[in-house]
């Protein structure tokens, strides 16, 4: 079995709060030796993704689109890009934005690959990937063989500020038709337009926010 060809999906929007989880995902992919970063979305984000990939020593692919899709919509795009790159293993930065996590399983389903989520450490070893993942309060050690989609939550070094990226000439551009995808068909997975969420400020609204996290003991 040959060594994996890797794609790392950085997502369809700039990371929230910090860039360090993007850097961590790129560093994890760089361990494989043959890896390419994939990003989609608006030009500002693509320039930033290309810049961080370049700093990690990875080539990058960008898919410019203004679509706003759900987890299955983006998974179709990532799977098509991974096929184009002949990638056998896809890493997904699942820490930078909340909507990214379910994309791991959806990409795996599209590629008929093994899925592994919540991975906090990864080490390629020829055709095998050794991974440590969080399962509730346990750390599981797992060995993976063959095509896999791996959701990573691996942080890079702390980054307080980073330079505004310049438009990238190194990023390879792909469009949806070149990936064999029809934007109109993908539109069936579009998210309905929603206003930006406002910070909750009342006791009632914050309690409501937390109640879906309250644990249940011993019965419903």
């Amino acid at each position: 079995m040959s060594e994996p060809v890797v794609a790392v999906w950085l997502g369809a929007g700039s990371p929230l709060r910090t860039i360090r989880w993007v850097d961590g995902a790129l560093a994890a992919a760089a361990k494989f030796g043959n890896a390419t970063a994939i990003a989609a979305g608006d030009q500002t984000w693509l320039d930033l993704a290309a810049d961080r990939a370049n700093r990690a020593g990875l080539p990058s692919v960008g898919i410019a689109t203004d679509l706003r899709l759900d987890y299955l919509g983006w998974a179709q795009i990532v799977a098509a890009a991974a096929r184009q790159l002949k990638a056998t293993t896809v890493l997904v930065d699942e820490a930078s934005r909340p909507e990214r996590f379910p994309e791991v399983a959806a990409i795996a389903e599209q590629l008929d690959a093994v899925q592994l989520t919540h991975v906090v450490a990864i080490a390629p070893d020829g055709a095998i990937v050794h991974a440590s993942r969080i399962a509730n309060r346990d750390l599981q050690t797992v060995r993976v063989r063959g095509p896999a989609v791996i959701g990573v939550r691996i942080a890079g070094a702390p980054v307080d500020e980073y330079p505004t990226p310049m438009p990238s000439a190194s990023m390879r551009r792909l469009d949806l038709p070149a990936l064999g995808l029809d934007p109109l068909v993908l539109g069936h997975r579009a998210l309905p337009p929603r206003s930006s969420p406002q910070t909750k400020k009342s006791l009632d609204r914050i309690a409501e926010h937390l109640l879906v996290h309250r644990i249940v003991r011993g019965g419903g």
Binding site: S96, V114, L210
Partner: protein, 321 residues
């Protein structure tokens, strides 16, 4: 009649409490929509007879040890029917271990709505893949709303209603209790082909570090660690949320070993509540609530004003039944 399917994780020989919350949500939805509510359990049976190239086979119920207690709990929890999938794969909360068996159940029932307990062990592995496989919309940490026309809603504005077309998958964080039922219910046992996906091998398990917590954390700021009432309330809040209590070096004496972090420790829990001026380096995926501090662009909720008062009120609210 449409099917609502609830995945039930087991804690030993009992249904997981979070799975029972999902079952309660399923009961509300199924009653409102006129659907049948199925509760599905995956059980290990090394002698499972199905051949790898066959589809699910209905078999006798006599080979499921301990099923009576589980069946009673699920009947009490509102299920109309219980499905037990027997697999020769060892049960572990990984798609690679139980995904084949689970998919057999989904293919057998073809449900319109699939529910998981948001905090049940298998939910994060099974739910998104189930959604992807059946082309469903996905709701994370949803709750039930409404009286006669029950719907599911998550805090991002996603919803599932009776009038919707297409399938949906939801992880349930909260549901109103149901009236207990003791009716006899049907039990179906399926022998499912295929077992563990050999491409993934679980090599070992050890306790995770606090910095790797995936669930919830409550973080104490240095400005509140000497206030015994606030520390006590923060611990009560952590208990309500099943959260790890963390803080900086100044909080070390009130924290468990390994729970001290600094301002550059990378943290990526699902939820973080900062009490006071806790300095944290949180991932973008984390839902962030501040108590006693101003809000901001990446803060989901902020309770301004006195830390102790706000925290005490919040704990009191969460401790209400």
């Amino acid at each position: 009649m449409a099917a609502v399917l609830v995945h039930i994780d087991l804690d030993g020989d009992r249904p997981n409490p979070s799975s029972l919350v999902a079952l309660a949500a399923g009961r509300h939805v199924a009653s409102s929509w006129g659907a049948t509510l199925y509760a599905a359990v995956i059980a290990h049976d090394a002698s499972s007879k199905a051949s790898p190239d066959s589809t699910a086979q209905v078999v006798s119920t006599t080979h499921v040890p301990g099923i009576e207690a589980i069946e009673n709990a699920l009947a009490h929890g509102g299920a109309d029917k219980v499905v037990v999938a027997m697999t020769d794969a060892p049960i572990a909360p990984l798609w690679a271990a139980i995904g084949t068996a689970w998919q057999g159940i989904v293919d057998h029932l073809r449900p319109r709505l699939v529910l998981f307990g948001a905090d049940s062990p298998s939910a994060t592995e099974l739910a998104p893949r189930t959604g992807a496989r059946i082309g469903a919309r996905l709701l994370m940490r949803a709750r039930t709303l409404g009286g006669d026309d029950v719907e599911l809603r998550d805090r991002d504005g996603g919803y599932v209603r009776a009038s919707d077309s297409g399938a949906a998958v939801a992880l349930i964080g909260r549901a109103d209790p149901i009236e207990a039922s003791d009716e006899d219910i049907d039990l179906v046992v399926l022998a499912l082909p295929g077992g563990v996906d050999a491409r993934v091998e679980l090599a070992g398990t050890s306790p995770a570090e606090v910095a790797h917590t995936r669930g919830a954390i409550v973080a104490l700021g240095d400005d509140v660690v000497n206030d015994a009432k606030i520390v006590a309330d923060a611990k009560r809040l952590a208990t309500q949320l099943g959260a790890q209590l963390i803080g900086g070096a100044a909080a070390a004496r009130v924290l468990q070993a390994g729970a001290v972090v600094d301002r550059t420790t990378p943290l990526a829990p699902d939820l973080c509540i900062a009490v006071g001026n806790a300095q944290l380096d949180l991932a973008g995926a984390t839902s962030f609530i501040k108590i006693g501090g101003p809000g901001g662009k990446t803060v989901d909720g902020a309770l301004a004003g006195d830390v102790g008062t706000g925290l005490a009120q919040l704990v009191k609210r969460l401790e209400e039944p």
